[in-house]
Amino acid sequence: MSDKGIAKQVRETQVWKSIFRHGPPDNSRNRAAVIAGNVFLHLHPIKLKKSGVQLGYTWCMGGLTFFIFLALTVTGLLLMFYYRPTAEYAFNDIVALREHVPLGIMREIHRWGAHAMVITVWIHMFRVFMTGSYKPPREFNWGVGVILLVLTLLLSFTGYLLPWDQLAIWAITVGSGMAKATPFAGNAGPGAMLARIGDFVMVSDKNDVRFQLLGGRFVGEPALLRFYILHCVFIPLVVGVLIAVHFWRVRKDGGISAPL
């Protein structure tokens, strides 16, 4: 790396030095410092086995899943400025986004990104399986990954309702309809009729898991609000925490897997 002219002068200013506390990463000491001294980069180890940087081995799908998650957070935040989760406004706000924003692609990136994240997370899991990377000492982190997979699907599923169009409510009606068949906890599930005291039905369509999920007996406005909050706040928070655990454990369990 050459250090001449303006570049060198910039590097010697007080401002630059206050931000980057090390010289250019062209020697071992600075290459270590650039990773260790940066809060984002220090997710990485300072050195790693060569197979861990080869695309043919890692496929980079876990990293891309995380990146798409970040992209979805940013585009989702922007969409939240223009979207109101009520039956009256939700659909019209989406129409307005489409018609009044010239060249607007934030909703498109958000929707296609959501699909892409489901795909990348599946392929990531597939790669981890095919390289036996769930084997000791990484058993626990595989489990965390499975939970993250489920949460990814739930994130996508809750977001599906928000446009409040026919596609949305009927897809959610079909999907959430399964919940009423939950054994013991759904009104049409096996075992629900056991929960009965005389004529009093304990598990009915007014209090079963489906009712709790939708805030009603069908996909209506309470469901929209619930899905909105689950989608924008609750599940992302849980996912954020689990991603931290997942990455931490990747490091603590010995980094990207390699032959023992």
């Binding site: 296609w112 095919m130 000791p136 169009d165 939950t182």
Partner: protein
Amino acid sequence: MLRELVNRLSDPIISFPLATFAFYLMLRYYKIFGTKKFAYWTVGILIPVTTWFLADPNFFSIIKTPDNIPIIILLISVGFFTWFALHKAAINDTRIEEGLGPIEATPENREKVWSWPNLVYVELFAIIACTAFLIVWAIIFKAPLEEPANPTWAPNPAKAPWYFLGLQEMLVYFDPWMAGVVLPGLIVGGLIAIPYIDTNPKGNGYFTFKERAMAITAFLYGWLVLWVYLIIVGVFLRGPNWTFYGPFEFWDFHKVVASFNVNLSEIIWIKMLGIGLPKNLVMREIFGIILSLAYIIIIPPWFAKATKVGRDLLKNVGSIRYYIFMFLILMTMSLPIKMILRWLFSLKYIVALPEWELNL
């Protein structure tokens, strides 16, 4: 003529056994499947075939739905990465047979490199490529938006999001409490249990098939045939009323499918014994209940006694792991078994207790 043939072959009755057979061939001859030559030939054949499919107006009308594009991307990536994983596995297995060890274990690849610039630049490249891909996708295809929500008018077919269509397709063969709750729960629990069941120390950190043939076969069968294949069926081949439509078939709302599925109790009590159904519920379903219990209680110990594979497995992993593994495998196989029973005997339920919402 040819289209008619494709329509018929796509029917799950035929395409499911075909998919299973193709899966068997893929793993049996994975070293041939994993060659570059095989990949080139496959792509070379798939391109004209796909073009031919797309030229059909009925097929095109299904494929052009914006929300179906992710599924096409999914299919391409699943196809490519399955080939790629087995390609790497075939190379490593050949090396292992020659005593060279997997390619990830060569001294050169064990060498440590600096994260800066080796790793961060790969990540930067991946991020830029992914961003470009998403932006292009977003510019070309508008996000779908249909009519405003109308709770009084249900579209037909009403489909769940595509990643759940495998589960919706299972509804053809199972009641919602199985297809929508118990089996998905077992998938999640089973996935988490994998590292604790699979005690094989080999194949940790490198691609291989030979050293982990059983684990990979079980996982890939569930993932490719029972999950991805069912999504394909659910997305492309299920039309109004969840009736089967071939890829070149028009979604005619009036297509009538003769269905007279019968329960096991009816087959035994009415057809075979000629007595008629007993009044007592448990008595009526006694055969189905015995069969179902026998399926999960008798098969595992029998398998461990009667077969060498079972004996070795039980010895290697211990009884707790063995029984959990067998339980998960039996639950997985309950889907294809139920499919085959439906197709061969028009069997609806093995245990039919609608009075208790307990149908199996």
